[in-house]
Every structure is written in structure tokens, then in C-alpha cells.
Symmetry: D2
Subunit: 329 residues, 4 copies
């Protein structure tokens, strides 16, 4: 959970800016002997392509063709680092010339500048939603491990623009997009088949890790597990009766359910006011370029990928929980 490294045993480092040469990841700690092909990565990347969610996604269309640079031999993982690279082919830096010194409202422009004293302003640089591509690529490998344990991960958009009926909600999203505005939403996720015993008390609890994983995704503003915030209004005698997939931060074998709240995309077509950092004055801003106005549409595979990364790591960590291998899952 340091800067760009995720996981302890199944460790992923990601790299790449939106408008640089490319993005990718290196996975260190993937067990040897896992069947893997570039097509496994490609299939997952296709799920986050624009237009998948139907509504409000960017018109930037890239092939996002992954290349596996290492760690694979005759169709199986070697136990050595797996490097995956996706080149940027359709970036248009000129779209961003007017943003070099401007802090777009709701974006990370100011905070990145404050942190590093320098930033790549083109398309948000590394704070771009395009960074999630690396997560999905790494998650594709994690998903294969997780699947080998019989675990299924399923995420979906459960609310959009404040509306829970999804057909109705996505129509609302399109209408909002047409107005030059953007909408928020909620992505739900259910995980079935998790063996009991996953999670590392007390700081590396399963829910703590999932929370960190989800909040590390751009535009996420909250997470709740099971009945979540509603549980805060319940009584113990009532709440104790509800099966819970995680107790004490460790999986129980029951289904794990959680919800992730996304704020509306900060990039909107409508004119806005913004800070010009160089001039230190408020200026009129019109954001050009191609943007998602409804982030959950493309975030579903990202949520699944991050879930898979957490679980793959915990499955491996669980192998050292007990001296006796007979109790290893």
C-alpha cells in the first residue's frame, strides 16, 4: 500500500501516464505453474473499454493491446516477475495545452502540483482514469489465481444519478451527459466461494484491505460492507442474525458484499471557473478532450480487479498462517 506497489506476496507495481509512451505493471510473487496467456489480459482490458457501460463514456478509443514482457514460458508462469505493457497510441496532447497551469475543479491538479512541484498536465498524467488499465491487467492474473480456488467476483452498477432502477438510471445519465454535466453512481460487488480464514488481523484485515483497494481508485468517496451505514442504526439482537462474510476482519465462508460510491466525474463540458496557478487568478475554463462523464460505467472491471488482487494476496498469505500445512487452504 505504498505509492505504486500493492500487495505483500502477490505484489503489483504499476506505472504510466495518460499521455506518455505507455502504461503497465509488474507482478512480483505470482506463483509458478499458473496457465496464462496474453489473451487472458486482453479479455479483461476489453471490459473497461469506452462504451461498455453504455452511457457517458469517453470517445477516446484505444486498442489497449497488452504485451507480456516476462515471467511466462510455454504458457505457464515461471514464478518470476510478470511485466505487462500497453502502449498509448491514441493520445492527443494538444487537447491539453490550455490546462498547463490550470487547476480543474474536482481534479487532482493542485494537489499533485503541491506534492511534487511538477506534473504532467496532459490528460491528468498519472491521475488519469487511464491508470486503472494497469489494475485491470494485473487483476486479470489475480483473477486466474482466485478462480483456481473456486472464488467468483461479480461487480455491477447498482445506482446512478441517485436512481436505483438501472435502466431508468442510465437514461438519466445520458440526459445529464447531453447537458454537458456528469453523474455519480454506486458499484456493488459480491464475492462468492471465499474460504473461511482470509484476512490478516489486526491491520491487514480483509475489509481493511478491500477498503484501501477501493478508495485507491479515482473518484471513489466511500465504501460499506454488508448493511454498512444502515447497520449503525440497527440493534445487536437484529444485526447478529445477518450472515456476514467478514467477522473480525477474517472471511467466514459466507458471501462478501460491499458497495463503492463514485462522485460525478469532475470533467464536464459546461464552462466553469478555475484557478490559474501561474497567474494566481480565477479564469474561465472549458474542458476539451474526451472524458468519461459517468465513471462507474468503466469502473466495474476495476472494482473486480482490485478485489481479485486483495484476495490473491490473502490466499498466499494464508499459506503461512499455521505451522501445519494440513490446515493451509
Amino acid at each position: 500500500m505504498s505509492g505504486n506497489v500493492f500487495g505483500e506476496l502477490f505484489k503489483v507495481v504499476t506505472f504510466g501516464e495518460s499521455h506518455g509512451p505507455g502504461l503497465g505493471c509488474v507482478i512480483d510473487g505470482c506463483p509458478a505453474g499458473l496457465e496464462l496467456s496474453v489473451d487472458d489480459i486482453r479479455q479483461e482490458l476489453l471490459k473497461r473499454r469506452p462504451g461498455q457501460g453504455g452511457a457517458g463514456t469517453t470517445s477516446r478509443k484505444e486498442a489497449d493491446e497488452p504485451e507480456i514482457l516476462s515471467g511466462l514460458f510455454e504458457g505457464k508462469t515461471l514464478g518470476t516477475p510478470i511485466a505487462i505493457l500497453v502502449r498509448n497510441t491514441n493520445s492527443n496532447s494538444a487537447d491539453y495545452d490550455n490546462l498547463r497551469n490550470v487547476c480543474r475543479p474536482g481534479h487532482a491538479d493542485f494537489s499533485w502540483q503541491a506534492k511534487y512541484g511538477i506534473r504532467d498536465h496532459r490528460g491528468g498524467g498519472r491521475s488519469s482514469g487511464r491508470e486503472t488499465l494497469c489494475r485491470v491487467a494485473a487483476g486479470a492474473v489475480a483473477k486466474k489465481i482466485v478462480a483456481s480456488y473456486g472464488i467468483e467476483i461479480k461487480a455491477w452498477i447498482s445506482s446512478a444519478a441517485g436512481i436505483d432502477d438501472i435502466d431508468e438510471a442510465l437514461k438519466a445519465v445520458e440526459a445529464i451527459h447531453a447537458e454537458g454535466d456528469s453523474a455519480g453512481g454506486i458499484v456493488s460487488c459480491i464475492v462468492k466461494g471465499v474460504p473461511a480464514g482470509l484476512g490478516e488481523p489486526v491491520f491487514g484485515k480483509l475489509d481493511a484491505r478491500l477498503a484501501a483497494a477501493m478508495l485507491s481508485v479515482g473518484a471513489v468517496k466511500g465504501i460499506e460492507f454488508g448493511s454498512g451505514f444502515a447497520a449503525a442504526a440497527k440493534r445487536g439482537s437484529e444485526n447478529n442474525k445477518i450472515p456476514d462474510g467478514i467477522l473480525g476482519g477474517i472471511s467466514t465462508g459466507q458471501d462478501i458484499e460491499f458497495k463503492v460510491a463514485f462522485k460525478p466525474a469532475p470533467s464536464i463540458a459546461k464552462p466553469q471557473k478555475a484557478l490559474n496557478m501561474e497567474k494566481n487568478e480565477i479564469v474561465d475554463l472549458v474542458i476539451k478532450g474526451r472524458h468519461d462523464s459517468f465513471i462507474p460505467a468503466r469502473a466495474v472491471p476495476v472494482i473486480e480487479a482490485m478485489t481479485a488482487l486483495v484476495l490473491a494476496d490473502l490466499l498466499l498469505l494464508q499459506r503461512s498462517a499455521s505451522l501445519s500445512l494440513s490446515t493451509v487452504h
Copy 2:
């Protein structure tokens, strides 16, 4: 965020079971030259004593007298590990004899047993709320660092038993407690004076770390930042206008606000059904011993402590963000 170690540079490892000899922590990476006394620890520990929150707290009253075993010399930190020990003096193991093989509903008994194949059933062992004592002790040191940067952390109970008017809510909690039942609640936290630039993209974002920190606290079921789940129903044109303390996972210099949802305490006086693991049958359960029925009452200093641990670590990490020390905060 591994098992019992928290943080990267300001690193804390905690130890101890509810009914073992003692609990404590070792802080590795506290900078040298910080003024510190055992009284700094003692004052914070007093805040989590039973009865502080008024309603529904355990009658187990321990002195919780901390001892600093290392890392201090003539009133200042040495830069070496700071070990803090609090002995258990008022534990009553006999209260738990009937729980040796029983999985209490809503508790971590089953999941811990599944994980390790062994557990200390007395008072929940390490899954006891008493474990938070170590967090508060370590947090007391982190708070001093954070304060030296001018940062203020303030948490409070903002909702209880589903009621937001706190006086009214705490009365409801007492009534629920009198019925032998328990209540949930929400703890809110505001952090003022955070310099812009804290947070390590992309996986160690400030909100991701806070989320992991909070979800690692027992009974927490959710977290939201700023308008949180409500933001998911907003439009970008509206949401972009709200000042946000964290953008792109990095602090902006604005106030940081978040809310943490606690489920009702699983230990209730009312009779319940429970699984006896040895006999593999459902049995009648009456929980004896001394328990909190309203966890938020004692969780306020824990939330503050975890916040301080996250910030102390990020303040130190920020010192290496830029080559030029002139931009180091």
C-alpha cells in the same frame, strides 16, 4: 498494512491479547528529538476508559498504566524503537469458560478458529476491543508529531441508534442497553491544518490509507469522505463546487472530513443461539463478562489515533517526494 504492522516510515507493531499478561506496541521510525513522556501516553489512554462516552460501556475498569520501555532519553525520542507496555490487571478468565468452543454471533470466533486452528477464547483474545488500547498508545506519539505540524484531529459521535440528535441518541442507547441489547452508531472526524501534498498515489492515497486504518478497527462497517455516498447522487457541476480536503488521493490543504459506521456491539445480554464448534450443534448462549454495548462511546480516541498514525507516516513520506528539500513540508 500487514498483519500487526501499520505504516511505512512511522511503523507500529502492536501485540497482546485481552486476557494475556499485557498489550502494547513498538514504534519503529519515530524521528529523534520529539519531546515525549509517559504522561502523553497516559492522557490518551484515559480517553478510551469505560464511561468516557457516557452510555453503554463495559464495567471492566483497568488502570491501563503505560510503561515506556525504550526509545526515550532525558525526555526526548532517540530515533530508536519506542516500546510501550500496558499490563492486564483486571482480567477475569473464568467469565469465559463457557465460550471455549462456542462461536458467539457477530463475533470473530469462527473466523479466527478457521484461520489459525487455535484461538484464545478468553474475552475474544486478540479480537477484543481491548486491542485498540495499543492503537491509542501509538497514536499518542503520532499525535505529537502531527501537532508539531499544526494539524488538529477531532472525532465525535455524530449518530447513535439511528438518531442524529446526540443527547436524544445517547438516551436511546441507554434504554437499549437496559433491554440487554446493543446499538450502533457513527463517528465523524474532521482534520484541520493538513498541508497540501500528503498522500502517496496511486495505492497509498490519503483516503485509501485512512479507509484501511478505519476498517481495521473492530465493528466498523463503512467509511465515507466528504459527502460520500450522497455524492453518488450529485452532478459534477454541483459537486465540483464543494471544497474537498483530498483530491486524487492527495491532501489539498482544505479540511478533511469523514464518517465511520459502527455496527451494534455483538455481545448482548439477551439469550441467543450459537454454534458449538466441538459438538457441531446449535446451543443456547448467554454472554457473561463485561462488555461495551455501544462501541462508538470508546472508539472516538481510537479513530483519532488511527488518523494520527496515517498522517504521521505521510508527513515523513512527503519528505522524500521531491529532490529539492525546499519543497519538503
Copy 3:
């Protein structure tokens, strides 16, 4: 391999200064179900007591009575952190009053002061040889894990004062000690029964980890594996015929042999010149107190302990090398 934390899965943090309240360690990641008693720790600590090696050891005699504060239940490890504390009972701070501002030759006084801007000058503080007590305590637990895999670790003094015949060499050490001077020496170590496959290429190789472990012990100036520096003068056709316990950083199943060079103890009774940092002038120094003049005499159990810590960690790490548990050792 950060400051005071050693290991990845079998993780040890140590704490304590020579003349503070106590020293100890916390082990996070010891598998559950290991039989362990305080006597296991005590027996190992006895091996590093003064007088064990016969020659040139300090007259500071402490009971070094360990206490296990957590992680144990009914004689078995719980999988939770194991905290071990040894109190300082026989420290005499007054011996060091004249050293408050003095940099003893060959000691870490100046470098620690430069690093932290503060130090505990009494007995070297944390740079004291007494710190190795924590390693031996943690190593006692690691040894039990290692032994459960059938691994044997054996270290011994193979050279002293430049003499390889040990009886003769220890007599020379005593004579040097009588002159108020100190002697160096070499500790050899052989490890038998290591399964093939331990070591994490490319940076966490078995020999790289052992080297870090050994060089982290005070006064160590070098390490060599197998024929070591002599191998640098050999031909491939010759060297390829020698069985090697480590190839490519991974154990082969053959015996592992290495040698560790200790410089002569820097604390000597003879008068020396030293820097007074406060006055910034060279002063006459006579070191009082009780010191080892021949470090290897007490380092043998430390070398064994560090070896056990490395192997315990790698044994657990090896459990995640391959997807198939059938190939897990």
C-alpha cells in the same frame, strides 16, 4: 531489513537500549500451533551469557530472564504477535558519565550522533552488544520452526587473534585481554538439512539475506560462503566440482557453510585518544565499565539466531512459490 524490523513473513521487530528499562522483540507472523515455552527462550539466552566462550567476556552478569507477553495460549503459538521482554537489572549508568560527549574510537558514538542529533551514551545505548539479546530471543522461536523442518544450524569460533587452532587461539585471547587489549576472530556456521528451493531471486537470495543478517550484527566486517574469497582464485573447471549449498541464491539441498569476520572489540582498557564532540578537541580516554574484549565468544548464538530468522522466513515464503501446494515444502 528496515531499521528495526527483520523478515517478511516471519517478521521481527526489536527494541531496547543497554541501560534503559529493558529490551525485547515482537514476532509478527509466527505460524499458529507451534509448541513454545518461556524456557525455550531462556535456554538460548543462557548461551550468550558472559563466560560462555571462556575468554574475554564482560563481567556484567544479568539474569536475562525473559517474559512472554503475548501470542501464546496453553503452550502453543496463536498466530498473533509474540512479544518477549527482558528487563535490564544490572546496568550501572554511572560508569558512563565521562562518555556523554566523547566518541570512543571504533565505536558508533559519532555516527549515531550525526544520524539522530541525540543518543543514549550509556553503554552504547542501542548500539550496545546487549542488543543482540533480542535477536537470540527471537531466534529461539525461529529455531523451533526450522527444527520442525529437520534443519540443523551449528556455529563455532573457527579462528581467534589470527590463530586457527582454537585452544591455542583462546589462550592468546586471554593474554591479549590481560594486556588491556582486545582480539578479533572468525565464527563459522554450517547448516544441514535445508530443503532445496529456499531463497527469493533476485534480491532476496538466500546468501544475500544471510549476508545482510550477519553484517547487521555489531563488529562484523565480512562474510564469505563456501570457499568464498579463495574461490576468486580458482578456475571454473575446479570450482564447478565443489558441492555448493546455494546456487543462484537458492538452496540446493547440500550443506550451507559460511564464515563471519569480527573485528577486535573497540572497547579496550588501554588509554586511548578520543574526540570530545562538545569541546571539539582530542582528549585522553580511559574506558570504564564491563566489556567484551573478544566478541566472537558471545556471538556464536547470535549467528545461529540470525541464521534461523532468515531460514524461518524463507521456509514460509517458499509456501507461495508455486500454485500447486503439492510442491510446497
Copy 4:
């Protein structure tokens, strides 16, 4: 110091097999604002090209053209991960067909197979000396940081085939090579200008980290600091007078000197006996392909690179040693 990740704040992950698509590294934690160009990397890579050391180097000649994929903007580092890729262009897999099931003497074939149950036999896969390319690429960036602090790192071959007069020694190496055999040697390194205070006691000491770094390089069998093994034969009164660049694991400001012993290259042209793992029988082996017979010739820039990686990391870590930034170096 885990598998393929090196460093704590200046963190490097490397990837790639000798005969796969490419090799490279990702640096996470390089401070923002460092001037860097692809030519900085290229110049360092040129130093490890065959023929640099004069004697006994492989005839495999590759352009080793590096590409910087991320982390750079307008000639300066962004603070985001720096990914560097070098493609394999001149690999000849057919050379290795006869080695698929053979354990070459002195090589890591058997131990890797035992560890992972699978390996890429072509050119040693990831255990190839070609892997050091990634270290040199990452080291090129570290060197720029280190240089900005005024630190100079200089390594050289100080002994070959047991001969210390280098002209004479390299002639001996050529003669040994002509016989179809290989020679070992020693690489010395001196580091000037290191500020006092670097090193993280007690496990992350400067010498412990350098030792781990050096022993992680293939074919290294030993390391000694200062007078090293010779110090073991000295007296304290004598040894205390020698200036030492590292005391108590922390730099003193004096020059740091160490020596690294390399065994003779295990790949020799002479016919040898070897184990065929599939048939489980001893077979005649003639190693084809292009190999280094004298590893130190190309290891000099690798030793410098690893030294730079250790120092860059410790320079950043030192920024958090003290609360007061005024004492930060």
C-alpha cells in the same frame, strides 16, 4: 529485499528473462524534479557491454537500447514510477535446446527447478547475468541522485585468477579462457563523500544493506568492509586507529571501502559431467552459446549500480531520522 523488489523509499522492481521479449525495471519513489534523460541510462548500460573489461567476455553483442516508458516529463522526473525497458534482440534460443533437462555444474538450474517446478532453461532465464542489465539501468537513476549529494562511487577489478597485478592478471584470464576454462576475481569499490549518518540500525545498517546488495549479484561469494577478514587477526589498539567509513552500521563521513569476491564463471567450454533431471542420470555436457568466462569484467558497473541504489535509498530514509528538518542532510 524481497524477491524482485529492492529498497524502501527508492524502490526498484526488475523483470525479464535472458531469452524472453525484454528486461527492465520500474523505480517507485524517485523524487520529483531530477533531471533525467534516456542517455543517462544508455551511458551506464554501455559500461556493462561485452568487451569492456577486455578479457573473457561473451560475444553476445546487443544494442541494449533503453526506453523510458513513464515518470518523465520535459526532461525531469515526475515523482511517479519510472519504467525502463530494454528489448532482447540478439537472443538465440536454439543454442540451449540441449540444456532443457540438464543441470549445468555451478549453475542455478537445479535449485530454480526445485523452487518453482518450472524454469526457462534458455540462457539461464532469469538467473542469467543478463539480469544485471536491469540493475545498471536503475542504478543510472540512483547515481544521479547520489551525485547530487556530492557522492562518488568507483569500482574496479583488483584481483583476477588469484593475481593482484591487474595487467598480469588479465593476461592470465585470457590464457585460461583460451584453454576453455574460466577465472574468478575480486572487485573493489570505494565511495567518497558520503555524509555521516546514513544507515538504519539495527537491521538496515549501511554495511548490511551493501552486503545484501552485493551478494544478490550472481557469482558473488563474499564481501568484506575495510580490512575485513584481516581485521579478525588484529588487536583493538591497532584497529581502533584505522579510519572507518561505517561504524555501528552508520556512515561516519570517511571513505567507505569494500571488496567483493566472484567465483569463476560456471559456464566453461571444456566438457563436463552433468545431471539430466528427466532421465536422472549423469550425462556428458558441452556448453554452447556465448558466455562470460570472467564475470568481474562486466560486473564493475553492476557493483557501482547496486551501491548507488543502497545509497539513494538511505539518503531519502535519512530525511525522516530527525523531527527537525535542519538536521536533515
